[in-house]
Symmetry: none
Subunit: 400 residues, 2 copies
């Protein structure tokens, strides 16, 4: 991989515009009966037309055989080494809801959960309680422990953010979520000596929270995951000389985008709303990361047919986005989410890059099998940004 | 390449089973008259059927243009960086015959050879003397030189192991085998200052051995290769949380497998014997490395037709292995051995990975040309283990 410093040295601002359209969890696996994946099953004439004019390939989110979480999957798409940039779940959730992080804060993601009389977890998601109930409970959990302030903020359903604020906090502590029901929540332990204070504070917090939540069934306990602090990373403005913006309906993706410097453009709940948002701000930015969540959600639910339907719906209104005539449009995903696996997977991701200068290949179907013969081959997702920048004529020549 | 530490952090034990079937030296080159390689010439309906259900590709043993020896070829297949793991030939041979290595031992591979009256090598393999004769000669060569004990053990035909045991030995010394007939054996030289004692001992040993062997024509001299000490490497158990086992008819491959922690399952001389061995131990392990030697031997002998025949023989009994219903089966090789080159070569290796979740491509012929269009593309052999682990659902998600 060309280093970001090298890209930075070559990047130049130009008026050309790039749209990075991420159909989350796009890639799939074939249904037994037909031998076709979700994308191969869907009728997607507009994606196929675009593929015919594009250079296509299969991107590898973080490495062969490795299933990418959303954070490394997107970090790679934005051109950052997903191993060098470590964005914890706590920070992600916090940024995604505009939580005002201060320097030194340690953030964690909280899940309300249900425990039985013996403290055994019976539902890791507390029956997916309503966000309003979550908000009420969060207020009860704000407290001071020694010199540390504990702040909370609801995210969605049973998920919330917890912020430990004060001197001497570290994020090198373990999670309390045992990842399985039928077990008790775990103690927080410090993984470095410097984090002992943080572990103690977190354990005290959990103990007090347990008492506060005792009569709040089904949300009568909480689990803490992804203790983390804001990472120090160069912004996309600094690296690519872009004015980047994010259009996403789900907080985590906005959060991730804002960590790399993207402006958040508030939008509605549908792809049509998102396209409208891009249109409205088209003159203010030269890079738009447009995130589509329902493809991934359908895959996670194991709903092959719904994923097909969503892909067809996306395809129907794709022309509205193309009508903006961006100089470069990339269609890809952060990872595959095959309905068959009901979750993220390691499989490569159909990807196409359109520009006037892309050198189209012979691919006429935007799909897993179609992209296999494409001009991009099988390639690391971290190559997408340099390729998009090149196609936008935003990268100077390297060397004399 | 995803680091082994990263893989280690993601690996989880599950009941699923992986079979790694290595057809040593599998890849070939086309015969002039037909334009077809050994594998393309062979009738292999079972391999082809499996390919149709698999994801296929061409693996690169250690790098483009680089001809892999057996050790780096296999090291890469097991997921180890073949440049970071340096397993000398001496250690390999010793482990392969269960030679009881002690800490600090320097091991070399010995070849009996024939020299003429002027000490010029006339046969580097001493007419491939019988193993029994070899064993008798080895006994004559055990001796003490200063404080160093010299131990020997026969391997097979003209090959034996020699072990230098005692304080202050190093393996940074050169070989005595000039690699060509018509030359005299070389002096051992130290390549670091610390290895001078070892070089002196080795030269003294060769001098005494020459006298001992003088009347033992055709084995009237010996050559020493691959001075080495046991490398310190993490086991496959530690990295992959597997219970791995090796089924191989030839000592060196067993030795290599055992260096990375595989249990050795004693077996017979044929592929059918090897399958029987896998069957007998199927419940005790979740990873089976099954090594087939004759493909490579036929290639080394330049015998195109014999290699074709062996591939067809392997294909005929392949169903017995498939009937075990492993969750993942990988068919590949450590390197190509084209009959045309009578030796290992740098060419890519036909490889397929079958699992329920592999995302099959359009490849229906398991061959060099067939695999070229496969979904794995042209890829480093070190990717095979992460991909096999992923397909066995033994790797957790990376990142939130």
């Amino acid at each position: 991989m060309f280093s970001q410093d090298q890209i930075k040295a070559l990047a130049q601002p130009t008026p050309s515009k790039i749209i990075l359209l991420v159909l989350d969890g796009l890639g799939g696996l074939p249904r037994m009966e037909t031998g076709k994946t979700e994308l191969e099953t869907a009728q997607t004439p507009n994606l196929n037309n675009l593929a015919a004019k594009s250079i296509c390939g299969l991107s590898q989110p973080v490495g062969p055989g490795i299933t990418a979480g959303s954070a490394p999957g997107h970090t790679a798409l934005f051109g950052y080494d997903p191993f060098a940039v470590n964005i914890g779940r706590g920070v992600l959730e916090a940024v995604g809801i505009d939580f005002p992080i201060e320097q030194g804060d340690v953030l964690a993601r909280g899940n309300y959960c249900t425990v039985d009389g013996n403290g055994i977890i019976t539902d890791r998601r507390a029956g997916r309680i309503a966000t309003e109930l979550n908000a009420g409970l969060c207020k009860l959990l704000e407290m001071k422990i020694d010199d540390i302030q504990v702040l909370t903020a609801p995210v969605k359903d049973y998920r919330f953010v917890i912020c430990f604020r004060g001197a001497g906090l570290r994020d090198a502590v373990s999670e309390t979520d045992p990842q399985h029901e039928g077990m008790k929540p775990l103690q927080v332990t410090a993984t470095t000596a410097g984090a002992i204070k943080t572990a103690n504070i977190a354990n005290q917090f959990v103990e007090r929270a347990m008492k506060i939540l005792a009569d709040k069934h089904p949300a009568n306990m909480l689990l803490l995951r992804g203790f983390s602090r804001e990472p120090e990373i160069l912004s996309m403005q600094a690296i690519y000389k872009l004015k980047p913006a994010v259009v996403a309906t789900y907080p985590m993706y906005r959060g991730l985008a804002r960590l790399v410097g993207m402006a958040n453009l508030p939008t509605g709940a549908t792809f049509a709303d998102e396209i409208k948002t891009v249109k409205e701000h088209y003159n203010d930015h030269d890079f738009f990361f447009v995130h589509i969540k329902p493809t991934d959600a359908a895959g996670e639910d194991g709903d092959f047919d719904r994923k097909v339907k969503i892909l067809e719906d996306v395809d129907k209104i794709l022309p509205d986005l193309l009508n903006l005539n961006p100089d470069v449009i990339v269609v890809t995903a952060d990872h595959s989410t095959p309905a068959m696996l009901k979750g993220h997977s390691w499989h490569t991701v159909p990807t196409m890059i359109y520009s006037k200068y892309c050198r189209p290949d012979k691919v006429v179907e935007f799909s897993e099998s179609g992209c296999l013969g494409g001009g991009l081959g099988i390639f690391p997702a971290t190559d997408i940004m340099p390729l998009a920048m090149a196609n936008a004529l935003k990268l100077n020549k390297f060397g004399a």
